[in-house]
Symmetry: C3
Subunit: 256 residues, 3 copies
């Protein structure tokens, strides 16, 4: 983890245009604000190009998308590509319905993504590897590195697969991260907020491997820190403590 | 209350497809996760049938619905009927506008609901009994049992009327519950989240009377437990404590 | 600050129809409930006139608006004007895109607003004064009183500009407020919830200058009170404490 990436985010407060799902909008905005970014949400197709062009990074998350929103996501993604700013895809529950599969296929054709982030089930779907899922959750078991390598190669991107061990494949390098806490699976939107924070880290002047690793490692340390607080009793009280932890300095989160 | 119902939910983590309002999506997802279910939200009409067919139960809540979403709700409800999984209706604020009355009428014609849950004002509206409401709140006074019996009979369903005393009418039996706490009325979405938790309980192998009573009784006990914590000072701090309480075992919530 | 305004809100629990953005719906509903109002959210164009006509006040916030929602906002605003109840505009991020500028222009033509509330960048945009913004945040510097005076005059309204010092211009009077806390800028929706609480205060029987000042002053004192609690460690734990504080009596919030 490079602390200088976290510091750069906080010094520049990058504007992140979030085209994300309705379940997590509030949590993502508060989490990104705590971390040091500046969130903006806008999804009307009439304004997304202008908003994306004014932003420092764009996040596209299909969790509750519709045909109308998919159009807006394509426009925002293309505008990000044109401006040369990072654009991240979070293909939430892509395996759950053919509508999501079609939508993600269209997004992948229209937009060149700087990074694609998902759980193993979602990422396996993108490269036609069988994997067991349940709704938007990944419950299968298999070779995660193989999936990450295939996603990275096929879509010419950085692939980030979250799980007990996070696996990042970027420029043919395979990177692992083991920070994190089980309570991240007991709250909604943990993966979604990570997408926003990852996008913020991608706006800094470091290699994408360092940026991606720093995002997932810091995020996991913040979860561990929050879970360890004496006033955290369950997933409900974990939520505000986790937002608090995202605002801390790297050294305050280090494992002792 | 049958603790074995709670245990079965936690052992099977039923996938609940929530077609619910935008105000409560995050709270409902976190509450259902804490309780032991697996929430999924999807509302595009192109995917709701497939999502409902993959789920173990479907919740339909009209709190912020639109014509487009009503179409999706009908499709999801029919898919649930076809698969034979429970489907619950929460007719939020149905008396407030003729648009909501028409929408609920259409839903009731298209879908056979396993249970209908609402406050007295909403349920009275479904059987043309006069009742005073204010926005989406019920402020009237009258014979709640009569309303429950009429809803159950007219719609061939289990009727659950929430209030200071919850009244359940199922298979001509009238059941009462008095667990709960006044702070549930000072937070938004308390009734909406109960709808999701009720749907999860309806996926278990017990009689519907036991399932419905267990859902409302456990929910009320969790509220009492949360309100009694020393670090709960008002409706704001009640929220995370309540989510925490929903994750506890039945015996941890029993009144002493 | 007139405590009797707060007391009147709590005695009458005015029904506030919120046409607001998806990011803050839950936070706004919980905050308004804690304060003493009764929130209702409805945005389908088929029902907004009826809902607004049943309400005591209407809030219009364009944070994540679309063409469809803009239509509904105009209908709700006109219904409020027809009934003679207060209607408040929060032109979130109006300067960010031409779509928002057009939308707000349409709203200002169709509806006579009782009050317009925004940060300096948003309010400057309404009267064509140059101001630096970043997404939906105001980062510029300049003569805020001049902006408030111009907005009030041009739109025949009460102008409320939030910031380190809040500036209210109403009936040619200029009023200032300095309550508040820096953490309001580290959470999403602080300005949006203030819009809902302001609308509730505008339903009381006092002068609009007293109503507007009371709303912003009480709100800022609640933030100061929350931030001072020993169990508030960051923006995450500030959130529930702030909701708690909004439910307190004025005298519990007074600066010592």
């Amino acid at each position: 983890m490079k602390d200088s990436i976290i510091q750069e985010v906080r010094a520049t407060t990058p504007l992140i245009h979030n085209l994300t799902n309705e379940v997590v909008m509030n949590f993502s905005a508060n989490g990104l604000l705590a971390f040091g970014g500046a969130p903006v949400m806008a999804k009307a197709k009439e304004e997304v190009e202008e908003m994306a062009a004014a932003a420092d990074g764009v996040l596209i998350n299909i969790g509750t998308t519709s045909l109308t929103e998919l159009e807006a996501m394509k426009l925002a993604g293309k505008a990000a590509n044109k401006k040369g700013i990072p654009v991240v895809l979070d293909p939430v529950g892509v395996g759950a319905t053919s509508f999501r599969q079609d939508g993600v296929r269209q997004l992948l054709q229209a937009v060149s993504f700087t990074a694609i982030k998902g759980n193993a089930g979602e990422m396996a779907q993108l490269v036609d590897i069988p994997w067991e899922t349940k709704g938007v959750e990944s419950v299968g078991d298999g070779n995660v590195e193989e999936i990450a390598a295939k996603v990275a190669k096929l879509y010419q991107t950085t692939a980030i697969i979250t799980g007990k061990t996070d696996v990042i494949c970027s420029n043919e390098k395979m990177i692992h991260n083991t920070t994190g806490h089980a309570w991240l699976e007991k709250i909604t939107g943990a993966g979604c907020l990570l997408g926003s924070i990852l996008t913020a880290c991608l706006t800094t002047n470091y290699s994408i491997e360092e940026q991606a690793l720093t995002a997932v490692q810091f995020y996991g340390l913040a979860a561990e820190h929050a879970a360890a607080q004496s006033y955290v009793y369950g997933p409900g009280s974990f939520l505000p403590a986790f937002i608090d932890a995202l605002s801390l300095k790297s050294e305050q989160l280090e494992r002792s």
